[in-house]
């Protein structure tokens, strides 16, 4: 899990240490890393693997978090956004843990810390139910899962291979696609792809 809190790096670090080194002895150490810095998006792009989680603790006005949340599906990552104040637009992350009525002191007075403390506590409750964590019923990309098949998928352009041919990152990994319909494309562009063909550009938040 990658923890991003551009405005308040202490919160990203607090989440990371919580999961890596639990305060309750005997609980599993889970891989969790705080990501700081102006180049957070580039560092996440380089590091995130399919199946990872990106978790942000940030206000709704944090541009880098929007960008990460938008790209997470192309990286194959689940996205979580924890924050207070005005809400980000609907559908930004997979999961939004938001406190709309918190005061401007919400990030100092323990209420934001409470949100990720409870998240950690409930994650460990879930580990007590191994039957429910089994992947058997989960989405199978080769099956008929409605979220994956017969629908366009988000892709991020990795490189241009030849005219109208690009490699892209998607939740399934790296794929080669035809970009004839949407040319020109550049590395970093977001596309919707279907059947090996890019069908439209997705406007990046910026």
């Amino acid at each position: 899990m990658w923890c991003l809190a551009p405005e308040w790096p202490e919160h990203g670090r607090h989440v990371a240490v919580e999961f890596v080194h639990p305060v309750i002895m005997g609980k599993r150490a889970l891989p969790s890393v705080a990501i700081d810095g102006v180049d957070a998006v580039a560092r996440l792009r380089a590091s995130v693997r399919p199946g990872d989680i990106v978790l942000a603790v940030a206000s709704a006005s944090e541009q880098r978090v929007f960008e990460v949340m938008q790209r997470a599906p192309a990286w194959g990552a689940t996205s979580i956004w924890i924050g207070t104040g005005p809400r980000p637009p609907a559908r930004s992350p997979d999961h939004l843990l938001w406190s709309s009525d918190a005061s401007e002191l919400g990030r100092h007075d323990g209420s934001m810390v409470f949100a990720y403390h409870v998240l950690w506590e409930l994650v460990h409750v879930c580990f007590e139910h191994p039957g429910l964590l089994d992947d058997a019923d989960a989405c199978d990309v080769d099956g008929a899962c409605i979220t994956c098949s017969d629908e366009a998928r988000l892709a991020e352009v990795a490189s241009i291979v030849a005219p109208s041919l690009a490699t892209v990152r998607t939740a399934r990994g790296v794929e080669e696609i035809d970009t004839t319909l949407v040319d020109p494309v550049d590395a970093g562009d977001l596309l919707l792809i279907h059947g090996g063909v890019a069908i439209t550009h997705v406007e990046a938040v910026s």
């Binding site: 309750i24 005997g26 323990g110 403390h117």
Partner: protein
């Protein structure tokens, strides 16, 4: 460290072939709501029980700030990040007067140099030796009240004439009993998480009281 609250009694049907995810989700939602109620109650009870102590701490801190003093915060793990949050609140507040404040666990070069060369027990105290003087304030956080490097830094701070303020949990531990600590605000609870949340609330209350005192004097 603690064994934490028991949750197994809530979930008596733990087994590998469990499939009813909806029942678990209902339990998790109920559990989250109960924890929220518990955290809120602990914060408001502690703030009201400790209102007098918070006022005393704020008086002493405001005097140091008026004399040009600076705040140094420190702790380990989640308390290190809470120390960062407290330093940020004082130095870059959402309103009111900013005062100089810094978290001593911010810089990996300093922490690893000191940890490697002189030992982790001294990572905070050595920084106070380099930076701090008699008008300054040391604010150390330890949920157990027993963190060795926090206690050592408090001893160094006291020796340098600094104001020493502790934030602790459980019964307050050694931090609450230490003769090096001028004021120790203790959260009477057994869960590290609930203690940390309430310590943050206490620090926030101290900040508000300090601001009120700095305003009265007009800076």
């Amino acid at each position: 460290m603690t064994s934490g609250e028991r949750t197994d009694f809530l979930y008596p049907f733990i087994e590998r072939d469990e499939r009813d995810v909806d029942a678990l989700l209902v339990d998790l939602a109920r559990s989250a709501a109960a924890k929220h109620a518990e955290s809120s109650a602990l914060r408001s009870t502690t703030l009201s029980n400790q209102a007098g102590a918070v006022a005393l701490v704020a008086d002493a801190m405001a005097r140091r700030f008026r004399a040009g003093g600076r705040l140094f915060t420190f702790g380990n793990g989640g308390s290190a990040t809470d120390a960062a949050s407290i330093a940020a609140l004082f130095a870059t507040p959402p309103h009111g007067r900013p005062v100089p404040a810094r978290n001593l666990a911010e810089d990996p070069a300093i922490l690893t140099a000191l940890g490697n060369d002189v030992g982790f027990d001294l990572v905070f105290s050595r920084q106070l030796i380099a930076h701090a003087g008699r008008d300054d304030i040391a604010l150390g956080i330890s949920t157990s009240g027993g963190s060795r490097n926090v206690l050592t830094a408090m001893h160094e701070a006291r020796g340098r004439g600094m104001l020493t303020v502790g934030l602790a949990g459980y019964g307050g531990g050694e931090l609450a009993r230490s003769p090096d600590v001028d004021h120790c605000l203790v959260v009477e609870a057994e869960s590290v998480h609930r203690i940390q949340e309430t310590q943050d609330a206490l620090a926030c209350a101290v900040w508000e009281e300090v601001q009120r005192r700095l305003e009265v004097v007009g800076g």
